[in-house]
């Protein structure tokens, strides 16, 4: 059979990982038709996907994640892959919060690939040392360190210019100031009282304060350029998910010595996750369906999980994997993933479309991003606008 896979893994590591998957499938006698659409964090890919589905020509699998999976399933275009999941015992291999996301009405419709931790703080220790600051663990410490860096003529926080970057920062602040409970209530359940409550006020104030520690050239900057600033020591820190690690490694830096990964201030006990997954579409051709099932199986296979996540910088979604080939950051992440899952502090990342339907996500992102960029918007104003954005249907 043939699998056509729509994805946006076009960059070095990811592409290698995808190539590995392709190879495995080809070994099983299937054909792999690559449908890579890069750009805009998958926006273009989504557009293509929709047209393909509308023209009655859906691919076998597509990179879809978070609540979007449910939305697609609701349109009735996704296939049921329960047989694979049962055979491979996915229910046992996945944390419940993840496996729930892969199911629609109790049936598996997608296969998860990896877990990214989003609430990381990346630090250039050299820069901190020069400024005489110490690694911050709370937001107050962060500001102290930031002031020191500023004095030393170093940009404290490297920041880029897309709304998801603004929101990544916002998430980390919310988690750090409000904690996991608040985060869930406000940003996952979208509880109006919490959103308009005093805790949110504090979060927004802190968030805005963080902006003071970025440079004014941030808008329009790609995240990896921001990372490069940390690498070069132009900036001291960056709030970014674990994919930033790839940049450091590619620049020949070693974790722990040349750069440090630490949970975002105040969020050491929590974990904002971002799980990539492949949704499986209903197909007509039986041979292709077989190939599609094979694909689902291979995605969850330990080999692939290890290989892929080594390339991608994330950690396997499959529990109980051996982590010895991974670096320290990944190891820490894997450990926290299991721990926080138990403690109930494993929370989905809104910035990466894990928490709420895309419409709501977009609306909230708009407000937060506007609040970040527009110095005239007041905190109260932002709060009420977030509340109304949360009501988006």
């Amino acid at each position: 059979g043939e699998v056509e896979v729509l994805h946006w893994w076009t960059s070095g590591g990811e592409a290698k990982a995808a190539a590995a998957l392709k190879l495995t499938l080809q070994k099983g006698g299937h054909r792999w038709k690559d449908f890579a659409v890069a750009g805009g964090g998958g926006d273009s890919a989504m557009t293509v996907l929709k047209s393909r589905v509308v023209s009655g020509n859906a691919p076998s699998a597509a990179q879809i994640k978070g609540p979007s999976l449910q939305e697609w399933a609701r349109e009735g275009v996704l296939a049921n892959i329960d047989d694979v999941a049962k055979a491979e015992k996915w229910d046992e291999l996945l944390p419940k919060i993840v496996s729930d996301g892969m199911k629609y009405k109790g049936n598996y419709i997608a296969a998860p690939v990896n877990v990214h931790r989003v609430n990381w703080l990346w630090v250039n220790p050299e820069a901190l040392k020069k400024a005489g600051a110490k690694l911050p663990t709370t937001w107050d410490e962060f500001f102290a360190a930031g002031d020191a860096l500023k004095k030393a003529g170093i940009i404290p926080l490297a920041h880029g210019g897309q709304n998801w970057q603004d929101f990544t920062t916002f998430e980390s602040v919310a988690l750090g100031i409000g904690g996991a409970e608040f985060y869930k209530k406000a940003l996952v359940q979208l509880d109006a009282a919490t959103i308009t409550g005093p805790q949110m006020t504090q979060v927004l104030e802190t968030f805005k304060k963080v902006k003071g520690y970025t440079d004014k050239n941030a808008p329009g900057r790609d995240w990896n350029l921001a990372t490069a600033m940390v690498i070069k020591g132009e900036a001291g820190m960056q709030l970014m998910g674990d994919w930033a690690k790839g940049e450091f490694i590619a620049a020949g830096k070693t974790p722990g010595t040349d750069f440090v990964c630490t949970p975002a201030p105040g969020s050491a006990k929590a974990f904002t996750f971002n799980v990539d997954s492949f949704a499986m579409f209903k197909l007509k051709d039986a041979a292709n369906v077989a190939a599609q099932k094979e694909l689902a199986k291979e995605i969850m296979a330990p080999n692939f999980q290890e290989l892929f996540n080594l390339y991608k910088g994330s950690i396997p979604v499959r529990l109980g994997m051996k982590m010895d080939k991974f670096d320290d950051c990944a190891k820490a992440s894997a450990k926290d993933f299991v721990d926080t899952a138990k403690a109930g502090a494993l929370v989905p990342s809104i910035a990466h479309g894990m928490a709420v339907p895309s419409a709501v996500e977009g609306a909230i992102k708009d407000v937060v991003s506007q609040f970040w960029n527009d110095d005239k918007m007041s905190v109260a104003d932002a709060q009420s606008r977030i509340a109304s954005a949360a009501k988006t249907k």
């Binding site: 805009g40 926006d43 989504m46 557009t47 929709k50 589905v53 509308v54 979007s68 939305e71 697609w72 609701r74 349109e75 275009v77 210019g161 897309q162 709304n163 440079d215 004014k216 050239n217 941030a218 808008p219 329009g220 900057r221 339907p357 895309s358 419409a359 996500e361 977009g362 708009d366 991003s369 506007q370 970040w372 960029n373 527009d374 606008r385 988006t392």
Partner: protein, 292 residues
């Protein structure tokens, strides 16, 4: 002069335009109707034909982002259309002066059209970025007080989009005007010279008015570019900072394809088309009437 119209062969000319006309009806008006219906439907991720009333329009007009997008369309549209037309016309006139290196210069002015903005956007982003581009350069050259931070300023960023847009399309406008100028009968220019008109006045009073149909084409095409400057915004600012440089096209795209709010996207497209129609239809009408 009336065209040699009206004789009784007319089925042939009609037959020739018929396919295009049918295509236009189906693919333009059919799709507009389809889009119109979607805007009244409950569509989210994929088209869904259950009727939902005017809810999407209510949402749309409550949306601050859409208001910004509409305003940007007017600001950007005005600057871009005006700028590209003016600059294009000026370049065409300059090139019309029997310049020796015309071929080379023409290609230089035209080439921005050739390069996909997917990447040119990066170059522009660098050049306009205060920390990397012009401002940085001026600082390095010792002009410390020079400041050019429009790209990162939510109130000014849209001007940057306009600058890049003009840069990209002025060359094509020039080509259109140049083609028009090259079609004008030279004896009229001679007559104007004898009448004592200086070169600028010949252009202003004789040639440009003769270019009226070309003007019309150009205006249409540039407006088309303005409405479709999707790549441009995506590459340069991606709508940012915040959504300060959002345009209806990017808004619609984001809603329809990224956010799974197809209905809202359709509504925004309808509003945008209606806005355009409100401006364009009277112009079309007068322009085509004037021919008679």
């Amino acid at each position: 002069m009336s065209a040699p119209s009206a004789l009784r062969t007319p089925w042939l000319p009609k037959l020739v335009v018929a396919p295009s006309f049918v295509l236009a009806l189906v693919f333009i008006y059919g799709f507009i109707a389809w889009n119109g219906y979607l805007s009244l439907s409950a569509s989210r991720l994929l088209p869904n034909y259950t009727f939902a009333g005017f809810e999407q329009y209510v949402n749309l007009f409550e949306s601050d982002r859409f208001r910004v997008a509409l305003k940007n369309m007017l600001v950007f549209g005005g600057l871009f259309i005006g700028g590209a037309m003016a600059l294009g016309l000026m370049l065409a006139i300059l090139l019309d002066q029997k310049i020796r290196a015309e071929g080379l210069l023409r290609t230089i002015y035209l080439y921005p059209m050739a390069i996909s903005f997917i990447v040119t956007g990066t170059a522009w982003k660098w050049m306009l970025n205060p920390g990397l581009g012009l401002e940085h350069l001026m600082h390095q050259w010792g002009f410390e007080s020079f400041s050019f931070d429009w790209l990162v300023n939510p109130e000014k960023a849209i001007y940057c989009v306009a600058i890049a847009g003009i840069w990209q399309s002025a060359g094509f406008v020039m080509a259109l005007f140049l083609a028009g100028l090259r079609g004008i009968d030279e004896s009229i220019i001679k007559a104007a010279q004898v009448d004592g008109a200086s070169q600028p006045r010949i252009y202003w009073r004789i040639l440009i008015p003769s270019l009226r149909p070309v003007f019309f084409s150009t205006l249409m095409v540039v407006s088309h570019l303005a409405i479709k400057s999707f790549d441009l915004v995506m590459a340069l600012t991606a709508g940012g900072p915040g959504y300060a440089t959002d345009l209806p096209a990017t808004f619609m795209y984001a809603m329809s394809f990224t956010r799974g709010q197809l209905g809202l996207g359709a509504a925004s497209a309808t509003v945008m088309l209606a806005t355009v129609a409100a401006i364009v239809v009277p112009y079309l009408y007068s322009e085509l009437r004037a021919k008679k």
